[in-house]
Structures are given as structure tokens and as C-alpha cells.
Amino acid sequence: MNRFEQAFSTLKENKNKAFVPYIMAGDGGLDCLVDRLILLEKYGATAIEVGVPFSDPVADGPTIQRAGIRALENGTTLQGIIAEIGKARQEVSVPILLMTYMNPIYSYGINEFVKDIRQAGVDGCIIPDLPIEEEAIITPQLEEAEIELIRLVTLTTPMERIKTISSKGKGFLYTVTIKGITGARNEYDSELNQFLMAVKEVSPIPVLAGFGISSQDQIIDLTKYCDGVIVGSKIVDLFNSQNLLELEKLMSVFKSKSEIL
């Protein structure tokens, strides 16, 4: 069993939901990446998404854009990030996902990239500007290395296409819950719940909701209709303001619930 299967089967046994935090590697300095990964596992992360800073992050809103700029100003590179993940691997056992735009990978060299992340113990990749039409540029290498490509579906993706996309993946399906870019939101599309249910219906793999999620209430509400959440901008904010207390509280959302019930 790989780390993904392990993580999701444990969740299933405990009838629990997935909480996948996103952090921007190099925000606050690359030296703190290992500590943050350890902390997030301790706080109960099902898996951790590690963002790679990019100069032109078109799918991201202001919070993650700014975190990326801070990381780049710190001299963060993809090479450095992979090395840190390699170090963290000895102490962190949850799946680690790299979230990166295509160009840093292309510039690194696709073969070298896959080889190096495999060695570092990365379990999956999320590439927001790589739709299924273009993914053959990297999927043969990823498959050979047994690294999951986590694919996204959105509110604008037609149902037939959602079927196609979800049937390609093994890890989980990343369902974007807003029409837009990343960033904390208060309002959701009223049809979101129905959309999530419909995605759940067709997807053979776990369905996680992400983009714009920032509060326990939202999380509790959304996970009625899916298998878990990915929280990005909010976590980035909490690390940036060093509000670890709040972070721990947010991430205890499922723990406290199951204990109360």
C-alpha cells in the first residue's frame, strides 16, 4: 500500500474526513519547511500540499501570490525545496504533494524532476496549469515512478469531463469549489453542495474540496458532501502571522467533532 492508500484507508476505517493543508515552501525561509511539515502532521494533516513559488501564478489569489513573492525573495528554488522534503521524509509519514506550475518543472527537466522528487519521497503532484489535454508531457514519467498526478475539476467542468478526469486518477480528485482563483471567501456558489454530490457520485476516488475554504463552519458544511478539504490561503496566513494556536484549532475540526459525537 502506498502512502495515499494508507492515509485514505485509515480515514475510512475511522469514518473521518481528510484535512489537507497547503503551505508555500520558502515562506518564512526554506529552513522552516521541515519543522512546518512535522507540525502539520502533528496537528492531524491527512496529507500536506507543498507549494512551489512561481513568478506568474495565474491560478492564485493575493495571499498565495504574496507568499510566493516572499519565498522567491528568500532565494527559494525547486531544487532546495526537493532537498528539504527529502530531509523531512525521515520524520513525516503522511503523503507529501508538490503543487507547482508547469514552468519550474519544465525548466528543471521533466525526467530529472520526477527522478529527484521520487528520491525525496514526494507522493504526488498538483500542476494547476496542466489540464488532461497536456498531461502526457509528464504522466509517463510519473506513472513509472509511481507518483500520483492529482487532477482538478471545477464548477465549469462538464459532468462527462469530470468522469473522464476522475477515472484517470488514483490519489484523490481535487474539486475547486469556486469560480475563480485561490483565496479565502465567505460566499459560495449556491449550487456547490449539489455539484459536490454529483462529483462524488461519478468519482471512483476520494473527492476533496479546495479553494476559498477558511473556517471550521465551512469545512463542516462542505464535508457533508465530500471526503475532505484542502485549505490554502488561510493556512498560509496563519503561518505568516505565526498564529499557531489558531492553526491547531482550525485543524482540529474533525477531531473535536468525532470526539463530541
Partner: protein, 399 residues
Amino acid sequence: MNTYTLPNESGHFGIFGGRFVPETLMKAVIELGEAYESAKKDPSFQAEIGQLLKNYVGRETPLYFADNLTRHAGGAKIFLKREDLNHTGAHKINNAIGQALLAVRMGKKKIVAETGAGQHGVATATVCALLNLDCIVFMGEEDIKRQALNVFRMELLGAKVVSVTSGSATLKDAVNEALRYWVENVDDTHYLLGSVMGPHPFPQMVRDFQSVIGKETKLQFQLSVGTLPDALVACIGGGSNAMGMFHPFIEDESVSLYGVEAAGQGVDTEYHAASLTKGSPGVLHGALMYLLQDHNGQIQEAHSISAGLDYPGVGPEHSYLHDIGRAAYHSITDKEALDAFQLLSKLEGIIPALESAHAIAFAVKLAAEMDESKNIVVCLSGRGDKDVDTVKSRLREER
């Protein structure tokens, strides 16, 4: 004869091009591709474009033999394809009309666009005024300063101009913001991209709308000289005026194609925009193409005296033509462009856009190396009124 049919169905020119966009945009991009394919085959759509190009834009534009410039260069004859005489003063309107009519056909009511020099923004705002479409234009803060007059023009035309402060606050960042806006408003908004870049079908579609330049040139040249020209020269920002000029000639192997990039302060300094000369392939703004990037795949800022060439990439079809050797790409410095700007003004009474001045500067060098019996056509992509302030202050600095 028609052996050049790129892009292929998935929007690739060799390894270049494609659709590297967030999933949120895939539906829109696919629909746009389908709508364009159907419109392309529809005679009434083509007639509508033709009618506006003739009666509103003022096409066809003249192919002018620049006798004085030719004598100055002392070699091949230099002809100018006068895109500067289009309504709004540049080739950009050819594409804006095509895409805006397509947006109307698709039932979209709102247009978003990016602009660098402001020429594409002005062309888009103009067409939106004409067709009664809402128009929002993203423009880098730096460019807003450099091209204040064009900002005012867009506002006069009823467009909303939004200042972009992220990144380098120039054209590439304006594209980022326009893409983000499109992601959020994809249901009722068409992204009217201004050059032969971005995800498929934009590089193909913009090229097709601009290829009126090359088609007219071919006919006009045939009528006046009776042959094909020996060389075509055009400046390259994203590459739309050049692609529009080149495309109808791609299979005419006797015609040499020259693209001219901005060398800024020099291609061996950090301050240039010569993506093909100095860059490497990568993925930006939805396409695989040549880019200016550092060793870690971070996109670098481009630099040029001309805002319209200040882009750190060059469209996928040029990237392909470069790799197969069908077109040759050279570069011209700020200084050379400034000289050519003044030269053409004095010799021919034509004030060129600073972008186009790059093409003029290169053509003068090229002509000098070619025999007098040869003919060069330069795409004079725009007029220079928008640049006189920039040139004035640059010349004052130099003194």
C-alpha cells in the same frame, strides 16, 4: 500546395503551443475553439469582418515604396505595409474586430483584455464601443505611466482601465490579471487576447485575423512588381503583426522571413526583450514557447523602450518557425530603434511606432546587404504619435 497546416487539432506547433491553462478555463477555451472553427467557415461571418475592415478600419492599407529610405540604405528596395494608417493607428484592430465579432456570435457581453503599449487596449475599447460591449482592460502600472495618453483614450471610449501592480507591473503581469479575471468571469466574458500567444485557439485565431496584412501584401506586390518580395521584416512583441505578415508566405520558400525582437540596452545586458535570441522554451500564459527565464524557471522581466515589445515570451508559432529555421530572428537595440524612428520621420514623413522602428532599423541594415534588384517589405505595424513623449525625453536625456 497547402502543406503547412499548423497548428494541429490540439493546438500544437511541433512541441510549442497547447493549452496550459487552469481547468476552470478549459471549457471556455474548448468552446472558443469550436466557435472559431464554425465562424471561420461561415461566409456571413467573414463578410461581416470584411465589411468592418473596409468601411470602419479603412483597409486595404497601402503598400508604399519608400524611395528615400531605399536610397539611404543603398541596396534592396524597401516597401512599407502601412498598418499605421488603420483606424486607431496600428495593426491591433484587425484582431480586435475579428474577436469581438466572435464574442458577439458566442453571446458574450463583456470583454476583458490586456495591454502593454495601450494600442491593443485602444483597439479593443474602440471595437467594444462600436459593438456595445462592456470592456475592461488590465494594464501594468509602469505602462500606464509610459502611455498615459492611451489610457485616456481607452477611458474616452468607455473602457475601464485597471492598473496592475503585481510582479513587474508590465504586460506579462497584465496578462496574468486578465487571465485571473477571465477565470472568475468566464460565463459571460470573452478574453480578447492581443497577440499570437496564450492557449489554443488564440495563437491560430489571432494569426488568422492578422493575416489580412500578408494577404494584401502578396496581392499588392504582385500587382505593382509582378513577383513575390524577397524578404519580409516585422517586429516581434508577442508576434502578431509578424505572424499576420508571414503566414501567407510560409510556403513561398523564396521569401525570407525576418522577425525583429527588442534588444533593449543590448542582448548581453539584463535589459532586453529578446526571447528567441536569448531565451529558452517554457510554459507561460497557456502555451509552451520561448521565454526569458532564470535557471529556476522563474520568468524574467523584459526591457525595451517600446512598451509593445516588452514581453518576456514569443508566440508558439514563431518559436516553431525559429526551431525549424523557416524564419530568422534578429534584434535591435533601443538606441538603433530611436535612430530609425527619427530617420523614417525625416526621410519619408512617416513617424513610426517605436515597435515598428525596430523593424525599420533592421530592414535598413538588411537592405544594405542585399542587391538593388531585391525587394523587402517591412510591416509598419503602427504610427508613432503615442511615442513622441517618450522619444522627446529620451533624446533630451542623451544630450
